[in-house]
Symmetry: C2
Subunit: 291 residues, 2 copies
């Protein structure tokens, strides 16, 4: 069993970006600028946004973190996004999800200029991705594709089982893995809450992508010998013995599944860091195309 | 074995539209108007466009057929589309594909106003479909969903095998069947030219959608007893004994497969008429939303 080390692969991507950005600056071009909006202050969202800001610092990107009270009205948030849309220095805009219940994330996503939609959630980005056109790919599935690329995992003609059909992971990764992409050309089965015999489906998988948000859902008896397992889940489980008060668990029973795998992502340190590296790549692309 | 009769289901949809349109006209509202552009004069394209124009006549829609020489420049074609975009009476625009090689169908599709994109090929339409937002669904997969609806085929939790990953059929139908749609919630496996053991995959299918464009590809030994088979293929095979000089063949070996099926679409008379009914529904929706 070998580890798909997301930290290492993400570092390699960030190192490469850092050099390219430094070269741009030497040539008198602008560096990429990511603006992140954080509404309220939930623990997980704080952690994710902090990691994104840190990645910007590491790679020579400018970052702007805009903190807003969770009582902010939807209109004021949308105005804030419009300001960033019009700011020529800002290349990428991300609004950390989830948002407070009184704000429509659909309206928020649709308000972000499609040319700065580095999270890849805007309908135009999604449509272009489906049609195989160049665009921003949602950060988590893009990160998974970059991880497969980094470790040169053979995907062509393999049978990939995707657990979950969310717009942010399951749906786009099923499209990318089955598409004519560098690490695509898989036969893909997409499973979800209505799937019968999910174990039987999983057992057919040369590749399994678990993105359902149920801790340790994928057990050893659901995975065939030699499978490549990508664990997208990351759930905080209360744990009084930890300083933070919680431990992190993926959607895969890592301890028992990993011995059967050819490759597997750990949690944490697998898909999480790759998501951030993918966001950096999207932001860089936005900057390079427009400047 | 029962027939999924596309002619009958399409007629029911058109009959309903006809009544609704007549009511609109009585209320002093405008009727739907579909503008179709036909470049050149290939036999198959002529047939398809003629059927669309006829469907408009039957349902009380206005239709405009614009015929252009196949030597027309891309720029002149795009100008023509822009004229239609700005024409307030036109609710839907379709450009019959395929186009001559010197014209980029991508540019053509992207030039059509997303609000008049009744073929559902514009990236905005595709993105909204993926995200489950109201939009124009591409006519062929939409027609298939309407056919399943008409015959109340149970799809929830069924395993659907989609053969083909094209942007016009395979990809969108795999998304619709696996989505939270009225005839969705299937577990979906998407197969294509790189799929190994395609027969083994097909044999698992409670539902098979064949959209690969290879006549009679799906044989009886690839289909399990009781499957629902949707044949999207329609290939003209030369046949000197026919007055037209050709006969039509689907992607399914109908003669041998049909006895095993619970339901099957014939070719012709299955998906084809449904595609046109779906186009009519899209055009009606465009009209009703904007007038």
């Amino acid at each position: 069993m070998q580890i798909l080390d997301g930290r290492k692969a993400a570092q390699a991507i960030k190192d490469e970006l850092k050099i390219t950005v430094a070269q741009r600056v030497v040539e008198g071009k602008k560096n990429p600028h990511l603006a992140a909006i954080l509404v309220g202050n939930s623990g997980a969202s704080e952690t994710y946004v902090a990691a994104k800001v840190k990645a910007c610092e590491e790679t020579g990107f400018t970052s702007t973190l805009i903190r807003l009270e969770d009582s902010i009205s939807e209109n004021r948030l949308l105005d804030k996004i419009r300001d960033l849309n019009h700011d020529p220095d800002v290349d990428g805009i991300l609004v950390q999800l989830p948002l407070p219940k009184h704000i429509s994330s659909k309206n928020v996503i649709n308000t972000i200029d499609a040319d700065k939609d580095v999270d890849g959630f805007h309908p135009v980005s999604v449509g272009k991705m489906v049609e195989g056109l160049p665009t921003f790919i949602p950060a988590t599935p893009y990160g998974i594709m970059l991880l497969l690329e980094h470790y040169r995992i053979d995907t062509k003609g393999k049978h990939a089982i995707v657990l979950g059909r969310s717009n942010i992971v399951g749906r786009p990764i099923s499209i990318l893995l089955s598409g004519q992409t560098p690490r695509g050309n898989c036969t893909v089965t997409i499973c979800h809450s209505h799937t019968k015999d999910i174990k039987e489906h999983c057992l057919q998988g040369d590749i399994i992508v678990a993105a359902i948000g149920i801790p340790e859902f994928v057990k050893a008896d659901m995975v065939k010998e030699g499978a490549v397992v990508i664990d997208v889940g990351i759930t905080r489980i209360e744990d009084a013995s930890k300083k933070s008060g919680f431990r992190l668990r993926g959607d895969v029973d890592y301890e028992n599944v990993s011995p059967k795998c050819s490759w597997i992502t750990p949690v944490p340190g697998g898909v999480g860091p790759m998501t951030i590296a993918a966001l950096m790549k999207n932001t860089f692309m936005s900057c390079a195309e427009n400047n």
